[in-house]
């Protein structure tokens, strides 16, 4: 099935959850936040959050800034 992460298309296997997705994409999750279809998903809910076709994910991280 197809999902979008930060406006880019990705093909993923059925029944993946958010945790699996982030680990498959080698994301360092120490200072990131995830929103699924505009709704922020708390870190402790990543495991239980199963992804659906056409889901849109916003993935942000802390970077240097003033």
């Amino acid at each position: 099935m197809r999902i979008q992460i930060n406006d880019k298309d990705f093909e993923i296997t059925e029944k993946s959850n958010l945790s699996q997705l982030l680990s498959a994409q080698n994301v360092d999750t120490s200072a990131v936040a995830v929103a699924l279809n505009g709704q922020i998903i708390h870190r402790e809910q990543w495991q239980q959050t199963e992804l659906k076709n056409n889901d849109t994910i916003t993935l942000v991280q802390a970077v240097a800034g003033g």
């Binding site: 936040a33 802390a62 240097a64």
Partner: protein, 256 residues
Amino acid sequence: MLKIADRDFHSRLLIGSGKYSSADVMQKSLAASGSELVTLALKRVELERPTDDIVTPIQNLGLQLLPNTSGAKTAQDAIFAARLAREALGTHWLKLEIHPDPNYLLPDPIETLKAAEALVKEGFTVLPYCGADPVLCKRLEEFGCAAVMPLGAPIGSNQGLITRDFLRIIIEQASVPVIIDAGIGAPSHAVEAMEMGADAVLVNTAIATANNPVAMSKAFRDAVIVGRQAFEAGLSQNASLKASASSPLTEFLESL
């Protein structure tokens, strides 16, 4: 001691983590600055181009993180960014900044006020970057902001306190800390801000892009201390064009 919300800070220098040539120089500069409050930004992860973790080195220095909402053009954007920042960094402290104009990066007062009101209600400790507008600063304070951060000059412009007369009014009227943000390009500007009674200053570009950021960081650390000492000592008020002798004008020479 500077108190913002429920936290005490020994240092009155807030520092930004942007524009450093490397993470190592940033970390050394932050350490040299003596600052206890450091701004960070958020950006979308580029999966094909992973970037280094900058949070751990900052946290290892024991500094309070102050994520900003840079990139937000509306109150709605800023509120979303604030929630993401809280989730990513585990802090409810926030530098609220909304500047839709790409040329001067001037903060939008209406969107800032709207976002501040909503975010305070959501439990954020909101430090808004705003214009040097005394009326706006009072309104932000009334809405529950923990401090106000009026600009000295546009972000990164290094022009110093071109808004000084309005900053004086803001400082006179404020009952929350006033942190002069943006435009401070030299330690002398930081001294001036502190002498006029600002509670703190926020510096980024002037340190990060100096020839020697670590040394400049120390210079700003000392400037802020000196400026505060002068404010607390109470500046002499003679500011007229006429001279005022500092030695007795004795008349004994006239009798020679």
